[in-house]
């Protein structure tokens, strides 16, 4: 292992790897990524795989629009197919209030070039023939949203970063960060020390532990959320991600390659580092899924699993420089949106570090907004 590096990124998930790749792409050299377990093992490999631009605020819409551009050409950029499929996102709306809110969101999304629209229950049923439309008033639909394979995406970013000279060390845990007079001196790991001036905290669920090492306090807490997977169903049966807030935030879709259904709902536990799946979830998710897609009653569940949403008080990540410590950055607290946002976040952080400016809405994710009490509108969050 190297004992000196210009940049040390802590966290080998999709965010840390996207930042590493983008920094190297902009010409930064001597970058190290530390992962305490194996790549993707924290939140990325446990995520629900959805990628959507249907957010309710300008910043997330712009970031996701850019991300979808990058997702679309990821195979060319990174040299590996990551199963990105634009099957769309379908939000089921059951009352006037929901329809009004989503109409507003759709207008905003359209203004920034996202082709979402409000459709009728009949149109929704054409998109998902198995859908139960009882009580459904309308749906919000965007055909350019989609999903990708989190496992392949992590390897794609890691391999592309390595080709650009980034060193990735797995099973290497950052145990302490030494700071003197407001400057970073070194990162101490279980495999030795790395002298560095710059650290990027991309540890998401574990971000607060790193922040504590340097005396920074940003409200990011790990909550246990769960996912379910069924046996394969007929190919193309449920192409979009189907979401219903009336059913406690369920989201479900057919996996691109393997044909099983995956999804979850808003049940959460925490803050906690426990990730034991619960029977409460298994039963709750089965109940809610079969309300929306009745045929699922006859579908076998083969697995449930759990992972973290590293949540902030407003459901948006904390991204940016920490002023008290020279060259300490944070990109964490993605609250369940890290996977989909990763391509644009990597670009944004790399641009900010290399050029000290970016045309992306970095201000929105300002880590200091919590202490100033300027919370953003709660980001639309599923699961």
């Amino acid at each position: 292992m190297k004992n000196k590096a210009k940049t040390v990124i802590i966290g080998g998930g999709i965010i840390g790897l996207s930042i590493a790749y983008n920094l190297a792409k902009l010409g930064a050299e001597d970058i190290v990524v530390l992962e305490k377990n194996y790549l993707g093992s924290g939140s990325t490999f446990r995520c629900g795989s959805g990628i959507r631009q249907q957010f309710g605020d300008e910043a997330n819409i712009k970031m996701m629009k850019r991300s979808v551009e990058l997702w679309s050409r990821m195979e060319e950029d990174l040299g590996m197919d990551v199963d990105f499929r634009q099957g769309g996102y379908l939000f089921l709306l059951y009352d006037e209030d929901e329809v009004r809110d989503f109409k507003k969101n759709v207008e905003l999304q359209n203004r920034f070039g996202v082709p979402s629209r409000i459709i009728t229950p009949e149109e929704a049923k054409e998109i998902v023939p198995l859908l139960n439309t009882e009580g459904l008033l309308a749906a919000a639909w965007n055909h350019t949203d989609g999903k990708a394979n989190p496992f392949k995406t992590v390897f794609a970013y890691a391999n592309a970063a390595k080709r650009l000279g980034v060193d990735i060390y797995e099973y290497t845990e950052a145990q302490n960060i030494k700071v003197e007079n407001g400057s970073i001196k070194e990162v101490i790991t279980n495999r030795g020390k790395i002298e560095t001036r710059r650290v990027i905290n991309a540890a998401n669920g574990w971000a607060k532990i790193l922040n504590k090492m340097v005396g920074v306090d940003i409200p990011i807490e790990p909550y246990k959320h769960q996912g379910v997977k069924t046996e394969p169903i007929k190919d193309g049966e449920i192409k979009p991600m189907v979401v219903s807030f009336k059913h406690d935030g369920i989201y479900l879709t057919q996996e691109a390659e393997q044909g099983g259904l995956i999804g979850g709902y808003a049940l959460k536990y925490g803050p906690t580092y426990d990730i034991t799946p619960t029977y409460e979830f298994l039963r709750g998710v089965s109940y809610r899924f079969s309300q929306v897609i009745p045929a699922l009653k006859y579908t076998n569940v083969i697995r449930i699993w759990a992972g973290y949403y590293a949540e902030t008080p407003d459901g948006n990540a904390a991204i940016g420089r920490i002023k008290e410590i020279d060259e300490y950055y944070i990109a964490a607290g993605f609250s369940g949106h890290g996977f989909m946002l990763a391509p644009a976040v990597g670009e944004m952080v790399a641009e900010d570090i290399i050029y000290e400016k970016t045309n992306k809405p970095l201000w929105f994710y300002d880590p200091y907004r919590f202490q100033r009490g300027e919370l953003r509108g709660k980001a639309v969050q599923m699961g």
Partner: protein, 93 residues
């Protein structure tokens, strides 16, 4: 060599001996990573058939012991169960 293409290790997701050995040769020797890249252990059998076989392939090729390799977590349900059975009769929980 072509024989290895015909040896199915994971019957749920049609993963062959060749695919698993190729990953190990690339340096991916972690069973959790092999699981996520090939989907072994993620089908209806949930690894009951394939995981011990994959562990033995890793052991043979890397010299790691069975204990070092570790076995991915087993989670509920123990065997596939229809959602309707979990829900029981119509009404909420």
């Amino acid at each position: 060599m072509s024989e290895k293409e015909n040896v199915i290790i994971c019957r749920c997701n049609d993963v062959t001996l060749k695919e698993i050995e190729e990953l190990i040769d690339q340096g991916i020797t972690e069973i959790e990573e092999i699981k996520r890249l090939t989907r072994i252990g993620m089908g209806p059998c949930q690894g009951r058939t394939c995981i011990p076989i994959v562990a033995s392939i890793i052991a043979r090729k890397t010299g790691k012991s069975y204990d070092e390799i570790g076995i991915p977590a087993t989670r509920v349900p123990v065997r596939p169960v229809p959602m309707g059975v979990l829900v029981g009769d119509e009404d909420e929980e």
